[in-house]
């Protein structure tokens, strides 16, 4: 089973199968495979079937919205009205969100069906999905390996065919890195393109929602629904989203693609470099012009990112205090005890580390050395990209320095885990759109290629990826155990 969203839409519209049928198929696959993969924190069968029935009724009446009847999974940090929304944290284990995120509202508006809520690194902090209080997620290509993170559940679900598409969020690579490690396509749009309202914040100035699917063509459909101005998010861009599907198929003849030399330097697994080179050759054949560019401050993006993300998260996560929602410790003796134990029990080790570093970086006497410095470097990193985009249409490189590593391989060393994000996080700092698409394998594990676009040029990214996917079939590969 490797149906694409495009195919599902066609089948539903032609009446080849009903939404209830396809939804039941996916629910059955989830029931069968989720125990091994642990992609889902919640499976919302009843809601899914109810929405599927409503979709079938609408289809019968000819009322077809863009995603009517298409089953999808959502990362468990999008608030879903009446449905448990945990951020994979113990502190929200009992949290039934009382409202829908804008992204969720948009999917409801467009007729989609919700299969369930996917596993993730707690509060989106992690690159391996090992920081989940609901257990780690296995990579469908090799269940001893991580799926990447933080949106590991969504990526693995799409890779294993437990959902044809899923939502994710990307603060430092949390869509692109798991997409790469699981061999699926994922796009992180320009900051401000997708509303953050109802998307539980990790690093507010970096977070951006986006879709996973098998192909760029499917991502275009999902991104269309997710995108658009939202008056409830002050950082939402007042730019109308173009017709992403309509922009596909323009080809890449004459497109100028830059290869940042810093992305192909030490630290990149040579086998990955080889796979990427092959993909670049394909793009050349399609008429793209490949040139070298430089992003000199790439090396600084990791410390810069971690200071900003941790500072923002230390403040964003203060609201989890055991007073109005979420976990509260037993028998607090006083207010301080209530705060400290509720939070101490509720948050996992990585979340605590990040809150503490962020608290430290913002505290009196350190602000200038850490936070202000990071903001200055952030501008320099953005300027690197702006200069590069003076000369090229797209930038291309590997998504990750290595393929999916073994579960437990990096859990004792937070810093080595952070280095996984070297190619992805600078985009979040700059606010640029980027996507990862599968371009081959190394030792049986998928390799992802990252395309980086200029501001609000998601259409250009999707078109380039689609062009490549028209002449390749890496995105159609399904791990044997899940075929």
């Amino acid at each position: 089973m490797a149906a694409s969203i495009t195919e599902i839409k066609r089948g539903l519209n032609k009446g080849e199968f009903s939404s209830v049928e396809i939804t039941q198929d996916y629910l059955a696959r989830i029931a069968r495979h989720n125990p091994a993969l642990n992609c889902f924190i919640s499976v919302t069968d009843e809601i899914a079937l109810e929405q599927a029935r409503a979709a079938d009724a609408a289809l019968a009446k000819g009322e077809v919205a863009p995603l009517t009847g298409v089953p999808l999974a959502h990362k468990d940090l999008f608030c879903t009205d009446g449905v448990k929304t945990t951020c994979a944290s113990r502190i929200l284990d009992n949290f039934i969100a009382p409202y829908d995120a804008t992204v969720i509202e948009n999917f409801k508006r467009d007729g989609a069906v919700m299969l369930g809520k996917t596993n993730m690194d707690e509060f989106a902090m992690g690159s391996s999905n090992e920081n989940s209080s609901y257990g780690n997620v296995a990579n469908p290509w090799n269940t001893e390996h991580v799926p990447g993170g933080s949106s590991g559940g969504s990526a693995a679900a799409v890779a294993a065919g437990l959902a044809p598409g899923a939502t994710g969020t990307d603060t430092g690579g949390s869509i692109r890195q798991p997409a790469a490690l699981c061999g699926v396509t994922g796009i992180k749009p320009t900051y401000g393109r997708v509303s953050r309202y109802g998307m539980i914040a990790y690093g507010s100035s970096l977070d951006q929602g986006g879709p996973f699917a098998r192909s760029a063509e499917d991502c275009a459909l999902l991104l269309q629904t997710m995108s658009g101005f939202d008056g409830r998010d002050s950082t939402s861009a007042e730019q109308p989203a173009p017709d992403y599907s309509g922009a596909l198929g323009q080809g890449i003849e004459g497109l100028k693609i830059g290869l940042p030399k810093e992305y192909f330097a030490d630290g990149l697994d040579g086998r990955i470099a080889g796979v990427i080179e092959t993909a670049i050759d394909e793009l050349r054949k399609l008429g793209a012009e490949i040139v070298d560019v430089s992003l000199p401050n790439t090396g600084l993006s990791i410390p810069t990112y971690y200071v900003i993300a941790m500072a923002e998260c230390s403040s964003n996560l203060s609201r989890f205090d055991g007073v109005r929602f979420g976990h509260r410790c037993e028998h607090p003796v006083d207010l301080e005890d209530l705060y400290k134990r509720s939070r101490g029990e509720g948050f996992g080790a990585e979340v605590k580390r990040r809150i503490m570093i962020g608290t430290y970086a913002l505290s009196a006497g350190y602000y200038d050395a850490y936070y202000l410095k990071a903001q200055q470097l952030r501008r320099m990193i953005k300027q690197d990209f702006q200069q590069a985009f003076d000369d090229v249409d797209l930038i291309l490189g590997p998504t990750t320095p290595e393929t999916a590593f073994k579960i437990g391989a990096k859990t004792d060393d937070p810093v080595s885990m952070y280095l996984q994000d070297i190619y992805t996080i600078s985009l979040n700092l700059a606010g640029l759109p980027g996507m990862s698409l599968p371009v081959g394998f190394s030792d049986g594990l998928p390799v992802g290629m990252q395309l980086i676009g200029n501001y609000f040029d998601e259409a250009g990214l999707l078109n380039a990826a689609h062009s490549y996917q028209q002449v390749s079939d890496w995105h159609l590969q399904v791990p044997e155990a899940f075929q």
Binding site: P303, L335, G431
Partner: protein, 95 residues
């Protein structure tokens, strides 16, 4: 940059996080290694560069002054750990 156990305790207090005494040394080591990573920022002279807080350098949109929200207390308090007479309850606050 190396953090001592007392630093960890102070930071944990500021962040209102209970940390088991047995884990303090581990946190001190982890946080210190993160700070070492972060200190790489000092390799670059950024003096004179304007800080960037929002990637798009955009400005704030303003909302019209209208009441658009209705009372949803029951719904919101259904998920609260301790509510009585419409109030959220916490251990007595002493002023």
């Amino acid at each position: 940059m190396s953090l001592k156990p007392t630093d960890v305790r102070n930071i944990a207090h500021l962040a209102r996080l209970h940390i088991d005494e047995a884990d303090i040394d581990r946190y001190a080591a982890d946080l210190s290694s993160i700070l070492d990573l972060v200190d790489q920022m000092n390799q670059i002279d950024s003096s004179g560069v304007a800080p960037l807080s929002n990637p798009l350098d955009a400005t704030q949109r303003l909302r019209d002054d209208e009441v658009t929200e209705t009372d949803q207390r029951d719904k919101f308090q259904k998920i609260a750990p301790d509510v009585e007479q419409g109030l959220y309850r916490v251990p007595k606050v002493i002023e």
